[in-house]
Symmetry: C2
Subunit: 492 residues, 2 copies
């Protein structure tokens, strides 16, 4: 191991520890531990930053670049330089303070959500935003706008200009299309998805479907948390969470979604894991995988051909008289709602669009956070035709802002669009319906591993798209995919 690699090994050890603390906080840690553990997290963050910004590391990297490097080393060095550049401009004290603040903030958010009290969250949200703006200002290149800096942290090559265009197309095409769907005379019943679905039975189904998809429980864990997420310590320890409610499709599709993320992380090469290039290419590329499995594959009738008899076995009473076709229609029902994570495939990106518009206002127009609940509600009414009556089903539903993740949301919609573009191309390479009908999901998974997963961060999302599909990002595929699928289902 080279000396520069030893530095990065230490940085990664701090990051891996921080990942485990975060996992533990979300799934298990006792209530009062928070502020005490936050000190430890703060110290580890500080140590991480100190290792990365050590001038000796920069020297060593500059020397290393003159020598012959493997592909992995080249990718790691590129990521390291980018990270050093970002960190170097943030004073260590502020960086540490932010880590502690965001740990505190997620706790405040959880309580505020529970007690329906936006005012309790507003002051700390203001602090979080001001910190994030300050960090972005430090990181900004000459003339770069703050929100563009934030967007770049999650998705290289997608700034406001590109996203305005993307969301512009969605607004123009999908908002009126959704209107047509709502006017359609087709009625889909899905009441049976809600009912007395015991948690342990839902868990049994979750494990069965996860295993079928290729989630390897020897390298993975499934647990429960308030907000489902995927995390990983390395490619041999990938963890997903879900939550159980009286809607069986809620946990079922959150598990399929998180499994998509998990398969990505499990598919990263052994030579890459535990390095700075050993994660998914970008947030959007990650979402492309989770949404590909959740929606494009997971809501297809063919997906359920080999699985549905088991679903019925697990829930014989609850699904009495519900055939596969009826089940598949139900899980594709379009119903504009208030909660992003419960949204159907068609309306999902409109939820994201609202957050994108609000983030732009918060970051670029200094919107007063106290205006958020009202603006949030107005936009939901305008685009989705529904209006939240409480902040828990409105502006407080997501953890992201509490964590300081501004610029993250657009990746969700981009991911869906990436996935649709891949799907359009892959349809020429394989017959999805017959593969899925025969239970051969592994062929699809391995194709994705081969073309995406194993590269980690060695390629950017746009490079992956180009090399895989032969063209740069093309949002029209996504609109085509949605209109074709839902036009057919709703006879438009």
């Amino acid at each position: 191991m080279k000396e520069w690699e030893k530095y990065l090994e230490r940085a990664m050890a701090c990051q891996t520890a921080l990942t485990l603390f975060e996992w533990d906080n979300e799934t298990l840690a006792p209530e009062e531990a928070g502020s005490w553990t936050a000190r430890v997290q703060g110290t580890l963050s500080e140590m991480y930053q100190e290792v990365m910004t050590d001038p000796r590391l920069t020297e060593l990297i500059e020397e290393a670049e003159k020598e012959e490097l493997t592909d992995v080393q080249r990718a790691v060095i590129r990521e390291a330089k980018e990270e050093i550049r970002k960190l170097s401009c943030i004073p260590p004290e502020e960086y540490r303070a932010f880590q502690e603040l965001s740990a505190e903030s997620t706790r405040v958010w959880a309580k505020a959500r529970e007690s329906q009290d936006f005012e309790a969250f507003a002051p700390i949200l203001e602090k979080i935003i001001s910190c994030q703006k300050c960090f972005a200002a430090c990181q900004a290149r000459e003339g770069q706008k703050l929100y563009d800096v934030m967007l770049d942290n999650y998705e290289k090559g997608f700034d406001m200009e590109k996203l305005d265009e993307f969301f512009g197309m969605l607004k123009e095409e999908l908002v009126p299309f959704l209107h047509q769907v709502r006017e359609s005379r087709v009625r889909i019943s899905d009441e049976f998805l809600k009912g007395d679905y015991p948690e342990e039975k839902q868990r049994e189904l979750a494990e069965y479907v996860a295993e079928y998809m290729g989630f390897d429980f020897h390298k993975g864990v499934l647990a429960v948390s308030a907000h489902p997420f995927t995390t990983n310590l390395h490619n041999h320890d990938v963890r997903i969470t879900t939550h159980y409610s009286d809607r069986m499709d809620s946990s079922l599709f959150s598990v399929i979604h998180e499994c998509g993320h998990a398969l990505y992380e499990m598919g990263i090469g052994d030579e890459l894991t535990q390095t700075l290039a050993g994660q998914g290419a970008s947030m959007g590329m990650h979402e492309s995988q989770s949404r590909f499995f959740e929606n494009i594959i997971g809501r297809k009738e063919a997906f359920w051909i080999p699985l549905y008899s088991r679903v019925k076995e697990i829930f014989p009473e609850q699904l009495k008289g519900v055939g596969r076709e009826m089940f598949v229609k139900a899980i594709n029902k379009v119903e504009p709602g208030l909660i992003r994570t419960e949204a159907d495939e068609l309306t999902y990106s409109l939820h994201v669009m609202i957050r994108y518009e609000l983030e732009k206002l918060l970051i670029e127009e200094d919107l007063d956070v106290r205006e958020l609940p009202q603006l949030w509600a107005d936009k939901y009414e305008e685009y989705l035709g529904v209006r939240p009556t409480t902040v828990a089903e409105g502006v407080l539903q997501d953890i992201h802002w509490a964590q300081g993740s501004f610029g993250y949301f657009p990746s969700y919609a981009l991911g869906s669009a990436f996935g649709a573009q891949m799907y359009e191309y892959m349809k020429g390479q394989m017959d999805f319906d017959s593969l899925l009908a025969r239970g051969e999901i592994g062929v699809i998974r391995e194709y994705l591993r081969e073309h995406i997963h194993r590269y980690g961060k060695c390629r950017t999302s746009r490079e992956i798209l180009k090399e895989m599909t032969g063209e740069d990002f093309n949002p029209a595929c996504y609109v085509r995919y949605l209109k074709e699928k839902y036009g057919k289902l709703y006879q438009i």
Copy 2:
């Protein structure tokens, strides 16, 4: 915060992260994660050692000692100097290699135990022992024996000379006394403790009893692991584990035991936690608390007066016709067995004595590890009158040696003896039977917190005993306590 305190804060952050990794490995981590995560643990250990052995820290501490210090600072500096002395003599590479080795070794041990294959464990055990001897040799003061160095790591002031005396007394007094008990005509029936005790019901009882004892679930977690243990990130995050079997007393008393440890950690002062002096005074003092609750208090009839009706409610069928008196007799039944963690109060310290004798042979006489299974069996036959037929119920039953914890076992027996000495003294201060009968266990717990817990490592175990009971360690109290209690029960 002083500069030397910042150094120690980083050292503690590494330790806290390592604690969380260990907890996670024992309770949740996926099977194949081990060797990958071990790299991270190795790096964190190295970082810990580097912070502690930084010459600048030693300089800063020397300067700090010239200034006025608080009691806490004095204790922290004393612990830091001791730790620096120990670490400074171990080369960092070897220290790191050992951390990885011991992580690997516990996995090999678990598999060997499962497959009843001592040979599979022997080679790595040899490596562990040779590492431990090498570390002890580095740490040894002029003329100090290796096993004395190891003993000192767990219990200051108790070397082989003192322990030969202690275990000599136990051998002389308890082995023949046990013989009398076995010849006694008193027959105690306890078959009802074994049966169809559903795990979730056992868990319900465990939570009930833990809460009654004062285990605060806002600051604590109860989980499941192969071998019950207690750990803590700080005094606001204390975690215990148990395992469930068809013997309800097995998990019940392991929970009471671990709660004793947990109350100690929860009782440590806020000004001490997250410092090097913020843990229990010693392993033996820790065991004194767990065994005090498990045996001296927890197996008393009075303890069960306020609790037994709930026990019957939880297990109405299983304990049909079993009155409180019968239950209490059953949980005090003496029955020499093969498994230390399942041993009754009287025979427990004889299990420890066997391990002490074998450790002395391994460390001081270079005993070949391949002789362990035979010697182990012979000693069990001689002292306890039972002989293991498999290694799982013999030499492979404990995790300690796999972790490199040599010199740890004696603390278990010392803890029992410390507890008996405290009990003898405390009986003059309070009426245990009437307090417990009224459900006022809190009075006892607060007395222990006042005299022991809150001090953390500010006092040694011998200092605590002296200040609390007015005399130095006196093993005769322990023999008296056991002979009186079991003489009465077995009518000797």
